[in-house]
Structures are given as structure tokens and as C-alpha cells.
């Protein structure tokens, strides 16, 4: 169960890094190219750290690259939130806000107790605190910026918000039960959205879900096809 849970966290981080990598050379300003790459590198680092823990726990001799490159979409355990396309800057920062708020809480719990992921989590806590701050700064500016930016950010929030409940689904046997983080996560997110003059949508009664069980949107397979194409074209090669 621990390995499964950590694999989910790792896959969230890897897929997020993959989506953020797209922004490098496409950000609204050069300073933001640099910032998004930093965040992408942090997420990639978290994924690698967690894959190392997972491969250790399973003891099958797999490597981080086996996990990243040789699994198909149904074997990935990331939430749906992170895998969907993200080519709108408002979507990018709203999603980052939701994910980082959640990651902050999860990593804080993992960092505070004995367990195989403690070291990775302790480092990640500081990183995602910065991601959360960065996202919050941008959501404020976009939400309370121009009329256009307000509209676009509200639309992004309306689109991303339904994917939040999946992050908070109960998993009583997991090292951290995500349901127990619900109030803390919402407590981090809601004040930012209010200050940004955005309307916080209702949480849907029947939200999209399935990522943790390997049931993904069609976007993940496309993302993986691109990510894995070179590695898979040369079986057994080293890079």
C-alpha cells in the first residue's frame, strides 16, 4: 500500500514536470520561463526521489527509468488533474495552486513521521511551499488584474476545480489518508481565490476520478507516447 501510494505521488510529480517542460520557451515573459522550469525541475526531482523509494520497497530490481518509460498509461497512478493539457497560463497557475496546496499537506505529514519517504518529503515540503506561493501570486494578479484575465482565470478555475475531489478521496489504508487533508487543502486554496476576486465553484457531487486506479483520460496516453518514444525505440539501450 505504501509503495502504491508513493507511486501515485511520484506519477503526479512526473506528469506535472512533463507538462511544465512544455512552457520552457513559451512563458509570458522570460522571467517566467525560468520560474516554471525551476518548478518543473523540483517536481521531476520529487518524482525521481519517490521512484527510488518505490523501487527499493518493491525489490524487483526496477529503476526509475523502468517506471517512467516502460509502463503504459493504465499502470500510471497519477490523478487526472495533472495529465490534462495545460497550454493556457491561467490553467497552469490554477492547477499549480490546487496541486501544490495538496502536495504541501501530504509531504508535511510524510516528513513528520518515520517512513521510507521521509527524506524525500522533507525536501519536497520546502519546494512545494515555493510552488504554492508562486501559484498564489499569479492567481491573485490574474484574478484581480484586467477584465480579460479575470474571465480567463475564472474559466480555468471552473475547469480545474472538479478535479480537486480526486485528490481528497478517502484511502484509509494509505500512509496518509487524503480525506483527512480536505480541510487543510481547502483552507490553503480558498482564501487565495477569494482575494483574487474569483468565485469558488461548488465541489461536484460526482467528480471525475479513476487516476489512482489507472483509469485515465485519453490525454495521458498521448503524453506518455511522446515522453517514452525515444527510450522505447531502443530497448535495452543506455543513455
Amino acid at each position: 500500500m505504501t509503495a502504491d501510494f508513493l507511486l501515485g505521488l511520484a506519477d503526479d510529480a512526473l506528469v506535472t514536470a512533463q507538462r511544465l517542460g512544455w512552457w520552457v520557451s513559451r512563458a509570458p515573459e522570460l522571467e517566467e520561463d525560468v520560474a516554471l522550469a525551476n518548478i518543473g525541475l523540483d517536481q521531476l526531482g520529487q518524482a525521481r526521489g519517490l521512484y527510488a523509494v518505490v523501487t527499493d520497497l518493491e525489490g524487483l530490481g526496477r529503476t526509475e527509468d523502468d517506471l517512467a518509460y516502460l509502463r503504459d498509461a493504465p499502470d500510471f497512478r497519477n490523478v487526472l488533474l495533472v495529465e490534462r493539457p495545460q497550454t493556457d497560463f491561467a490553467v497552469c497557475v490554477v492547477r499549480m495552486l490546487l496541486l501544490a496546496a495538496w502536495q504541501s499537506e501530504v509531504y508535511a505529514v510524510l516528513a513528520a513521521r518515520e517512513g521510507p519517504a521521509r527524506g524525500v518529503a522533507a525536501k519536497a515540503v520546502k519546494e512545494v511551499a515555493y510552488h504554492l506561493d508562486h501559484a498564489a501570486q499569479w492567481v491573485l494578479r490574474l484574478g484581480d488584474g484586467t477584465e480579460l484575465s479575470h474571465e480567463r482565470t475564472q474559466a480555468a478555475l471552473d475547469a480545474e476545480w472538479p478535479y480537486l475531489p480526486e485528490l481528497l478521496e478517502p484511502a484509509p489504508a494509505a500512509p496518509v489518508d487524503p480525506a483527512s487533508l480536505r480541510d487543510a487543502v481547502l483552507g490553503r486554496v480558498r482564501p487565495v481565490l477569494h482575494e483574487a476576486t474569483l468565485v469558488v465553484p461548488e465541489l461536484p457531487a460526482d467528480p471525475p476520478t479513476g487516476g489512482r486506479a489507472g483509469r485515465h483520460t485519453e490525454h495521458l496516453a498521448a503524453l506518455l507516447a511522446e515522453m517514452q518514444q525515444v527510450a522505447r525505440a531502443h530497448p535495452g539501450a543506455t543513455w
Binding site: L14, A17, Q18, G21, W22, V24, S25, R26, A27, P28, E29, L30, E31, E32, D33, V34, A37, N38, G40, L41, L44, G45, A47, R48, Y51, E64, D65, A68, Y69, F89, L140, R141, L142, D144, G145, T146, L148, S149, R152, E226, M227, Q229, V230, A231, H234, G236, A237, T238, W239
Partner: protein, 308 residues
């Protein structure tokens, strides 16, 4: 006015300087900055496809550095009184150029290695003397850039070394990349000295320290033994050691091709520029929003004390 350039002292932004010196600097620094940010594209496309997580991290950090370097250089150009916005506009409308090398496509993963080894290698040969260039802000930016770039060339060399010692397919991929990038890399030093009318003036001003051909020769002398260490060949039948000169003799790059690429007719000119313009236009609403938010906040704090 006695230009500081003739005293071989560093020129700083507020010093008097000849108009031509200022114009030449703005053009060169801007072109350099543009090259950094356009240069993010050919490699950036491979961040998504890097074949291992370690390579993905390295490449993302490298392309990020290029954004940072563009930023340092735009800041250096701004000290001469030309805002970044104006420089970007000159790039986007084709009034200013960037290095021709980035108009060549990256077709395989090995190209990431070839760019690191050859293109960054050539860039370093060009840039190291610029750390002592006469204009202070440019020289200081170059010091920072050269320091940060020291890993860029090594990671490229390492990629090619791994490939050339890998499977036959990997080895072929590495050789193909070197075959395609060798000549364009030599063209990065610009036209031959005889056809480079501005060189003498730039050298007199201390903007340039060596001629195009001197730097090209230096690069070839460095690269030939490295190619041997990689176990790869360089696609030049005229390459041979000249005992008398103490340098490698090499063939003549196709400068007609260089002229075509510089004139905008290279394989990827249109795509590179379109990608850059699209990013800028797509980001306009974000830049405007942030500026509007800052203005609103400034207005609020000037009319009332913020609540505790």
C-alpha cells in the same frame, strides 16, 4: 571626447561613447540575447522526449539557463538605453537577427548531444574573449554566462560519448548528428575575415578581441581531438594536421549557405520566429494583467493605509 575604448579601460553605461560604438554594442548584444532565447527551441522540443529522467532534468536545466542568459543579455543591452520590449520587437519583426545555427532542425536525440558539444563549444570559444570586452555590463554578463555554461558543453559531449559507445543504432544516430552540425557550427564564427568589414572597427573598440577566422581555427583545433575521443568522425576530407602552422587545416564552410540562412531562408527560420512571436502574443494578457494589478495596488496603498 576621448572614447574610453581607446584607453583600454572598461566603458560603463553613463560614460560618453561614440554613437557607432553604442549602436554596434546594442546590435551585437541584442543578437546574442535573441540567439539565447531562440536557441531554447531546438533543444526545448526534446525535453519532453529525453530518454531518461536524468537527461530530462539536465536538459530542462540547460534550456532554462538559456532563458536566464537571454535575460542577462537583454539587461546589458538595456543599460545602453534600449528597453527589452523594443529589442524583442526588433526580433519579432525581423529587424534584428539571431545566430543562424538555430535555424537548423533537431531531428534526433543525438542532436541534443551535438548541440551541446559543437554549438555550445563554438559559442564558448566566441564568448570567452567577450568576458574581457570593453563594455562593462556586457563583459559582466558574459562572465556569468560562461561560468554557467561550463556544464552545457560537457553534457552534450557525455550524450554523444554514451551514444557512440552504445548500440549500433545509437552510434549511427550520433555520427549523423555530428555530420549535420559540424559545418553549421563552423559558420557560427561568421563570414571569413576578408568579407567581415566590421571586424576591424569592433576590434579597435575592444568589443571583439579576435577575428572570425582566428576563433574558427581555435574551435577546430579544440574539436578535432575531442571527436577522436568520442570515436566519431568529422565530415571534412580536408582535415589534416599542419605541422608547420601548428594547427589543423580544414575545408571551407559553405558561406553561400550561411548567407541564405542569415537572410531568412534556412530550414527553420519561419518556424523559430513564429514560435517566439506566438509565445509573446499569447503572454500579452498575462503581462497586462500583472501590470494592471500592480497599478491597482499602488493606487490603493497611496489612498489608504493597508489594513493590518
Amino acid at each position: 571626447m576621448e572614447p574610453a575604448t581607446e584607453r583600454s579601460a572598461t566603458v560603463e553605461p553613463r560614460d560618453p561613447m561614440p554613437d557607432g560604438y553604442r549602436r554596434t554594442l546594442v546590435r551585437q548584444i541584442a543578437q546574442h540575447a535573441h540567439s539565447e532565447i531562440i536557441g531554447m527551441q531546438p533543444e526545448g522540443e526534446w525535453i519532453a522526449r529525453a530518454p531518461s529522467l536524468r537527461r530530462k532534468a539536465i536538459l530542462m536545466a540547460k534550456v532554462q539557463d538559456e532563458a536566464g542568459h537571454g535575460l542577462y543579455l537583454y539587461a546589458a543591452a538595456e543599460t545602453l538605453g534600449t528597453p527589452r520590449e523594443e529589442l524583442l520587437d526588433a526580433l519579432h519583426t525581423g529587424r534584428q537577427k539571431y545566430s543562424s545555427i538555430f535555424n537548423y532542425p533537431t531531428l534526433t536525440w543525438a542532436d541534443v548531444g551535438a548541440i551541446g558539444w559543437l554549438v555550445d563549444g563554438a559559442a564558448i570559444v566566441n564568448q570567452v574573449p567577450l568576458c574581457r570586452c570593453s563594455y562593462g555590463p556586457y563583459a559582466r554578463a558574459m562572465v556569468r554566462i560562461c561560468k554557467e555554461e561550463s556544464f552545457h558543453q560537457r553534457q552534450g559531449f557525455e550524450i554523444l560519448h554514451t551514444l557512440s559507445h552504445g548500440t549500433p543504432a545509437q552510434r549511427a544516430m550520433a555520427q549523423d548528428a555530428v555530420d549535420r552540425f559540424w559545418w553549421p557550427s563552423l559558420m557560427m564564427f561568421g563570414p571569413p575575415d576578408a568579407d567581415s568589414p566590421n571586424t576591424a572597427q569592433s576590434m579597435a573598440w575592444g568589443i571583439k578581441r579576435f577575428t572570425n577566422d582566428e576563433l574558427r581555427q581555435r574551435f577546430v583545433d579544440i574539436a578535432v581531438p575531442q571527436a577522436a575521443a568520442l570515436g566519431l568522425t568529422l565530415p571534412d576530407p580536408e582535415l589534416r594536421w599542419n605541422e608547420e602552422r601548428g594547427h589543423w587545416d580544414f575545408g571551407t564552410p559553405d558561406f553561400a549557405e550561411l548567407a541564405e540562412v542569415v537572410a531568412g531562408r534556412g530550414p527553420c527560420n519561419a518556424e523559430r520566429l513564429a514560435h517566439r512571436v506566438r509565445a509573446h502574443e499569447d503572454g500579452a494578457w498575462v503581462r497586462e494583467a500583472a501590470a494592471a494589478y500592480a497599478a491597482k495596488r499602488a493606487a490603493r496603498t497611496s489612498t489608504q493605509e493597508p489594513a493590518a
